[in-house]
Every structure is written in C-alpha cells, then in structure tokens.
C-alpha cells in the first residue's frame, strides 16, 4: 500500500538540498541563476557558498554560454531557470557550446509540466525532454520526488557529462525513501506484483516525474480488479535502461508510458523506439497529446489532460485489449 498520509514536498526542494550537498562535496561546483534564485531553490547554495554563486540576470542564452566557459575552465556549473527558458530559449547555445563540446554543465529546468498550474501555457514546459534527448552526449534525468531530486542533483555533479535535470513546482508525494537505490541510467521497479503475490504482471507502467505517484495509485486500483501492473521509475530518459524495461515488457507484453510532457519525443517515445527495434509491444501513452497547457489548479489540469489516476487506469485497460 502507498502511504498517502506523508506530507507533500516540491520536487524542486530536493534540487536545492542537492546543490548544497554537491557544493560541500566538490568545490568546483558553481551555481548560476537567471533571476530565479528562490523559485529554482538555489537560495541555500547562494547563502552557503556566495563566492560560487553567479547571478546572470534575465539572460538564459548567456547563462548557457558562460556555464560552457566555466566548465571548459574546470568548474561544474549548474544553471537554474524555468525549463521553458532553459533549455527552451537557449537550446542552440546548449547544443553548440555544451553538448558538442561535451562539457559537464548541469541544466536544471524547473516548472516543467502542466502542474505549474496558474502561470499558464507560457510557463508550462512540455517539450524539454524531447529537446534535450535529441542532443548527443546529454544525459536526461527526471526525478519523481524531492528525495530522488536531491540524489539526482548530487549524482549529476559527479558524472562528468552534460546533464539535464527536470523539476516540477507543485508540492507532490514522496514515493521513494532515503534507502531507495538511485543511479543515473538505472530504472527502479516501484511495484512488483510477481514478487508480492507470486502472480505475473499483466502490464508494465513505465513513467518518470511526479505522475509516478498516480501510476502507483492506478496500479492499486487495478489490482482490486485483478489486473496486476509492474510500475517502473525510468527517471533516466537518456540513457534509457533498456535491460530493466525489456525484462519487464517481456513478462507483461503491454506498456503504458506516463509523463507530464508532450507525447512526441518524450519518455514514451523513447520507450517505443526501444520496443519497436527489439520487442514490438502494444503501448498506450499518458502525456500531452499535441496540446499546450493552460491556467488552472495543478490537479485539475492533470485530470483534464488525462494524466490522472483515471486516465492511467483507462490506458491500462485499453492496452490489455490489444494484447495478442
């Protein structure tokens, strides 16, 4: 059972804690912010290491290029802004000066997804995973809760690669714990019905980010109806953990991908690319179907766009009908 009583914490808070830890562990870590220190949770780092914090002003293109220069020199820069601006506005600078140069700049894209809420479509990044994963050399990580966000931030500081970290704004459920394993590039099985019930799973639900909580709730509901789902946290979209995913899908023969992102180019697409080449499997996609978001409460937007528990349940039932 998922403990729904735990308090909600914003995933971005984990980034803020992770920055301080990374800064303590390595003096090469520097943080750049484009006039969004507090809302990207860089405040604690700024206070702890003022000489290693650089205020860039509202200039995301320059932030990317200055970070490339800092990394070129030998620093480990984290650049903090909203994902619609970074990597949204500065994509070409990231491509040429960070990815092609293969420099270990960490791009922290905040306020991803419709769960940004009232700010509306301009500030709800739904394309950032696609934009980042098409670039060679770049690692793409989407933590599912604040604890994982902290671990991902600390791990990114050490991987010596250009890395995109995606964070959401709204307070959300904690679904991992301190002891949960985390390694960039390795997916984790969050719910494993065959382990608990001894019965095989009917469907693999593979997701990333805060929607994994909805995926777990949907799996519990479905279990009551006798439909067992294996739920996989594929926090690293690139490089995708092909082994874990193929092992699961081989057992279940059906997939539902779950992400708060456009269907085009996101985690679901990444999984489909893997399966089509290795293990063609019916798949349903939870995410944004070629729409922009709009203003509203986070939970109502998630429901409206079909990314709530109900939407996931419907998708699982639909994909099961397609199983041969």
């Amino acid at each position: 059972m998922i403990d729904q009583s735990k308090k909600l914490v914003s995933i971005r808070d984990g980034y803020g804690e992770g920055l301080v830890l990374a800064g303590e562990q390595d003096e090469r870590v520097v943080v750049l912010s484009a006039d969004l220190v507090d809302s990207t949770r860089a405040t604690a780092f700024k206070e702890r290491f003022p000489e290693r914090f650089i205020e860039m002003g509202v200039a995301e293109q320059n932030m990317a290029t200055v970070a490339a220069g800092l990394a070129n020199y030998g620093k480990i820069p984290f650049i903090s802004s909203y994902a619609t601006f970074s990597p949204g506005r500065n994509w070409e600078q990231i491509r040429t000066t960070i990815a092609l140069n293969n420099l270990p700049v960490k791009i922290a894209g905040h306020h991803a997804g419709v769960s940004v809420g009232p700010d509306g479509a301009t500030h709800q990044a739904l394309e950032d995973i696609a934009m980042m994963r098409v670039l060679p050399n770049i690692v793409v990580v989407v933590p599912c809760d604040a604890i994982e966000a902290r671990k991902a931030t600390v791990a990114a500081a050490k991987n010596n690669q250009p890395t995109y970290l995606r964070f959401t704004r709204e307070k959300s459920a904690i679904i991992t714990n301190e002891a949960s394993p985390f390694e960039i590039g390795r997916a984790e099985i969050l719910r494993n019905p065959s382990a608990s019930s001894g019965q095989g799973a009917d469907c693999s639900i593979i997701g990333c980010g805060l929607l994994l909580y909805n995926a777990l709730l949907a799996a519990e509901e479905l279990a009551k109806e006798g439909i067992e789902c294996e739920v996989i946290n594929s926090h690293t979209v690139k490089p995708l953990d092909a082994k874990t995913i193929l092992t699961s899908v081989k057992k279940t023969g059906a997939v539902v991908s779950v992400e708060e992102h456009q269907i085009a180019g996101g985690l679901g697409s990444t999984i489909a690319e893997l399966l089509v080449a290795n293990l063609p499997t019916p798949q349903e996609f939870i995410g944004m179907h070629d729409h922009f978001g709009e203003s509203g409460k986070p939970e109502e937007l998630i429901e409206y766009f079909g990314m709530g528990v109900k939407g996931i349940i419907t998708a699982v039932k639909k994909v099961l009908k397609r199983k041969s």
Binding site: V30, N62, A64, T65, A68, G69, L70, T96
Partner: protein, 300 residues
C-alpha cells in the same frame, strides 16, 4: 608602450604573408568556405600566435596558456593556418580542411583539434564562453590569495582570455547579454577583439543592421574601448599591452580591417565573404601575395 623593432615587424609581415598563401591554398583545396574574413584577420592572428600569446604548440593544453576563443568560427582557416605555421601540426595538414576525417572541420570543433579552446560557428556565443573562462580563472585566483584585498584580482590571474569576434555577430542578442555580464563583473582579465571589416553575407553591416556607434555602445556597458588599424602590428601589440594594464574593466579592441586584405580583387568586396577562389584565380592571388603586389620578384 614599447614600439616593435622594425626587424620584428618585417618578420611578422612575412609570416602573415605565408599564412595568407596557406589560406588561399587550403580554401582552393576545400572548394568551399570563407575567404574575405580569414585574409582580413591574418595580421591579427599573426601578431597573436607569433608575438602576443603565451602558448606552447607542443603542449596545447598547458594550464598556464593564454586562452584564445574564436567566436566567429567561419574564419577558422586563418586560425588553422596560424596554428600550423606556429607548429601545432604539419602545414600539409591544412589541405585536409573540410574533408571527411579531417581534424580541420569546416567550423572549429574543440574536441577534434587540440588548441582550439571552443567550438564555434553559430554566432554570438563566443564572448559568453570567454566570460565563463575568465570568471572561473578569477574565482580561483582570488580563492588562492590569502588577502585578496591587497591586490587587484586581475593582477593575480597570470594568463588572459582573448575573444575574437566578427562585427556582424554584434547583431546577435546573446552577444550583448555577455557584454553586459563582463561589464558588470569587471572582467579585467578578458580582452575582446572585433574584426571591424563592415561586411556580412547580405552586404554592408551598416545597411543590413547598423552597428555604429560600436565604441560608444561598449563604453556604455563599462568596457575600455581601443580602436586600431588591424593591419598595423605595432598598434595591435600596443593595444594588447594596454589591456593588460587595465585592472577594473574588460577591454574591447575594435580592429579596423580590410576584408580580403592582401589580394586586391577580394579587398573590400563583400561577395567574397562566403566564396572561395577557383584554381585559376588562386594562381593569380598567390602570385600577388608572393610578389607583394609586384614589389619583389619572388614568383615561381
């Protein structure tokens, strides 16, 4: 300022002439690329690689080297030629420019050829990277000093960061973000040098999108501004000496150059921006360079 010895000037002139010949030869072999810009910047590159820069061609990654960032990557043939003549790699390798498998990519790639510092081509992103390098160096310099308040931070950074820019790339927004950043942070260990040749692909810079008054724009952003003739070695070296003395501001050297300098048919002609000579034309151009426009009899 110490004036350059006439013998040194003579030596640099000959070197620049050899680099111009290499540029023509490599562009003809490549069959595509840019001609006017590289020829126009041959004197500046010669002054840097053969007089100004603290560098070691046999150890391109030496930590104490001056960093030379080329922002307008499309003029890279002049950098490749200068590097080859300085001993970074064999001069014959220049003829592999733009060919499959070559380290000399059409636009420079840092990971392909040691000594390039950055990857460039898309305009407007060089100064930001130079700012990052200069800022990082200054962070470490001040962190190492037990009493940073006793000396200027700039004085503690032994090596400098130089960034070469085209004039037309000043039409890019990213560039001005970086100008603002360097001014705010008083990056005195950073020197930008603008190849002010007034041409771009679609015509004259002042017709396409006016840049003047360029000097006043930089001054407004808290930069030291120096204007020089980009073909006068004494002026190039003198300006760099002045940037080394500046302790509280970044410096921009606006180097007025003649696009296509050295080949009369190409000089001042914007249509040569993105065009390369045909083999017959190249023969004539190389002869003009070898004989210093008929002044000496050195044409084989």
């Amino acid at each position: 300022m110490h004036p350059l010895h006439p013998d040194k000037i003579k030596e640099l002139e000959l070197k620049a002439n050899a680099i111009r010949q290499s540029i023509i030869e490599m562009l003809v072999a490549a069959g595509s690329g840019h001609t006017a810009g590289p020829l126009g910047m041959a004197d500046v590159f010669t002054a840097f690689y053969f007089y100004i820069l603290d560098h070691d061609p046999s150890n391109p990654n030496w930590a104490g080297r001056d960093r030379l960032i080329l922002s307008n990557g499309h003029i890279v043939p002049v950098r490749y030629a200068a590097m080859a003549h300085a001993g970074y790699f064999p001069v014959e390798e220049l003829l592999t420019l733009r060919k499959f498998g070559s380290r000399l990519q059409g636009h420079p790639e840092r990971l392909r050829l040691p000594g390039l510092e950055t990857t460039s081509g898309p305009l407007g992103s060089g100064l930001g990277q130079a700012c990052g390098i200069a800022y990082g160096a200054r962070m470490d310099a001040s962190a190492r000093s037990p009493r940073p308040e006793l000396g200027t931070k700039a004085a503690q950074v032994k090596w400098r960061t130089y960034c070469f820019l085209s004039d037309a790339e000043h039409q890019e927004g990213n560039h001005w973000e970086s100008v603002m950043f360097a001014g705010k942070n008083k990056l005195a260990n950073l020197t930008a040098l603008v190849d002010r040749n007034y041409i771009q692909i679609d015509g004259s810079t002042e017709e396409v999108m006016p840049l003047e008054s360029l000097a006043k724009k930089y001054e407004a952003f808290n930069w030291q501004v120096l204007e020089i003739n980009g073909h006068d070695f004494s002026e190039i070296v003198g300006a760099v000496e002045r940037t080394r003395e500046e302790v509280s501001r970044p410096t921009v050297i606006i180097a007025h150059t003649i696009p296509g300098k050295g080949v009369s048919e190409i000089e001042f002609n914007y249509t040569w921006h993105g065009m390369v000579p045909k083999p017959e034309e190249a023969k004539k151009f190389l002869s003009e360079l070898r004989t210093l426009r008929g002044k000496i009899n050195n044409d084989e």
